[in-house]
């Protein structure tokens, strides 16, 4: 009897149907917005389809090379177990726990405390920690952070976010280059010049709207996935408060560090554990990470679930 009660208690730990529903809703809305864009592109004929094909090729290129390019640009170095025994030890145990193949382990020689995960699949994942985070955090806190990054790997966040933002990229290409290559849109059969020009204007307007709406939706999706990764970390380690403490420590340091250091890492911030921007965003809907207070509150709820007081 007691065992059954415990088991039910355990199952509830770390479950958040609301978060999953919000994520599915966001994905659904994104799909809806994208469907409009694709519909318009196909409706205008050959020019639109060409853009789709080029964008698909870009997507493939992004999936297969972006991690290498980003790593090269940021000066990330793979480390052996001999060089970083503690980091490897933490990640190995978490991999056993999560039933995950061991990712590439990298260190970035940077005093800014941060960590991120990259790679399109579980087999090709890379987790990276900065020198700053290794020095700042205790082993338990570092474990929480690494479990957060491994959850990104488990959830295939790089793949999901890249695919989800695919049509947003298409839309932004159209908005940026549509004016220059505008002539191509009107290439359908039997159309007059005036009609073609109208098409171009319509496509650009639609692309602008799609880009604006999907931008907000994608940021929301990114925030939900951060919550999911925090949650996954807590479930994996059984220590939500250790991650909360790590987040507090990291954010405390982040705000003291001059922004000159941070700019170099700006583009990668989607997969950092704490966004690289020290300035707090005024409008939460444009932020790719949830505010610290909300993450701490979510972790606190998990801790009380764990302690059986929730």
């Amino acid at each position: 009897m007691a065992a059954t009660a415990h088991r039910q208690g355990r199952k509830a730990f770390g479950k958040d149907t609301g978060l999953q529903a919000r994520m599915l809703m966001t994905l659904f809305l994104l799909g809806l917005v994208y469907a409009v864009l694709v519909g318009v592109l196909i409706a205008v004929g050959a020019g639109g389809v060409t853009i789709l094909v080029i964008a698909l090729a870009l997507l493939g290129l992004q999936l297969f090379t972006s991690d290498k390019i980003a790593m090269g640009m940021m000066g990330v170095k793979e480390v052996s177990p001999q060089e970083e025994p503690e980091l490897h030890g933490i990640i190995e145990r978490l991999c056993v726990q999560a039933d995950l193949p061991k990712p590439k382990v990298c260190v970035m020689e940077n005093q800014m405390p941060n960590a991120f995960a990259m790679g399109r699949s579980q087999k090709r994942a890379t987790v990276c920690a900065t020198r700053g985070i290794l020095e700042l955090l205790s082993p338990a806190e570092l474990e929480g952070v690494m479990a957060h990054e491994l959850t990104h790997v488990i959830n295939r966040d790089v793949m999901v976010m890249t695919l989800a933002s695919f049509f947003a990229t298409v839309a932004s290409i159209i908005v940026q280059f549509g004016f220059f290559f505008g002539g191509g849109f009107g290439g359908g059969y039997g159309r007059g010049n005036n009609e073609g020009e109208e098409d171009v204007v319509i496509v650009i307007m639609v692309a602008m709207a799609v880009y604006a709406i999907s931008f907000v939706l994608l940021r929301a999706l990114s925030r939900y996935r951060e919550f999911a990764a925090d949650r996954g970390s807590a479930v994996l380690t059984g220590r939500p408060s250790a991650l909360a403490s790590a987040l507090l420590k990291i954010s405390g340091t982040m705000e003291r560090i001059p922004s000159r250091d941070l700019r170099t890492a700006e583009g990668m911030s989607a997969f950092f554990i704490v966004p690289a921007r020290a300035k707090r965003s005024l409008m939460n809907i444009f932020a790719d990470h949830p505010p610290l207070e909300q993450r701490l509150a979510a972790l606190e709820r998990l801790e009380s679930q764990l302690q059986g007081t929730a």
Binding site: R93, Q97, N155, G308
Partner: protein, 197 residues
């Protein structure tokens, strides 16, 4: 992780695989008779401890159970926390009478009480220690999530810390592959440094 799980970022920690722990209780005979590898009289189970009162209660119950089952065979139990925050329960046979069966029974008692308490997903692995003719330490590690065994041989040369003898491990895999369900993916042969047995 299925498609829906991937899309919604839902992820639960996996519980233990079907139990193949007891494979060691017969495999050691081959190790001893054919490969001159003797049991070192100690085994350990590694798991994450949860910092809550309910898990503490499970721990206490479990120690009672293991001490009781160990009482007949004289197996001694000791707990130890490592620097990664994992708990090791080390089981030792009485001096001079190593018995892999007793150790396997003891380890199984620990893992079943943890599973009974509903914490099966916290189990990491079990480790059985052996010695070859040169008194070198060899370990067989059982991964609870996967239900597979793999050998782990730390390099005995003290000038090379955290190096493992992959050659010896692959030999052991070839020697014991028929007896022990071996982890087929070599990248999951995770080392455990600083094993206290």
């Amino acid at each position: 992780v299925g498609l829906l799980d991937a899309l919604t970022g839902r992820h639960q920690v996996k519980g233990p695989a079907p139990d193949r722990l007891f494979a060691i209780a017969t495999a050691y005979i081959t190790l001893q008779s054919e490969h001159q590898i003797d049991p070192a009289g100690a085994a350990a189970i590694v798991f994450q401890k949860l910092e809550n009162s309910e898990f503490e209660a499970t721990m206490r119950e479990m120690e009672e159970v293991v001490t009781a089952t160990g009482g007949e065979s004289g197996t001694q139990v000791k707990s130890k926390d490592d620097e990664y925050g994992y708990r090791w329960m080390v089981l030792r046979n009485p001096e001079g009478t190593p018995s892999v069966e007793d150790l396997a029974v003891g380890i199984n008692a620990v893992s079943s009480s943890i599973e009974m308490g509903g914490h099966g997903e916290r189990l990491l692995c079990a480790v059985f220690a052996f010695r070859d003719t040169q008194k070198r330490k060899l370990y067989f590690i059982y991964n609870y999530k996967r239900g597979f065994w793999y050998p782990f041989v730390p390099d005995s040369n003290p000038t090379r810390p955290q190096e493992r003898s992959t050659e010896r491990e692959l030999q052991l895999k070839a020697q014991m592959g028929n007896e022990l369900p071996m982890e087929p993916e070599l990248e999951r042969w995770f080392p455990l440094w600083g094993i206290p047995i």
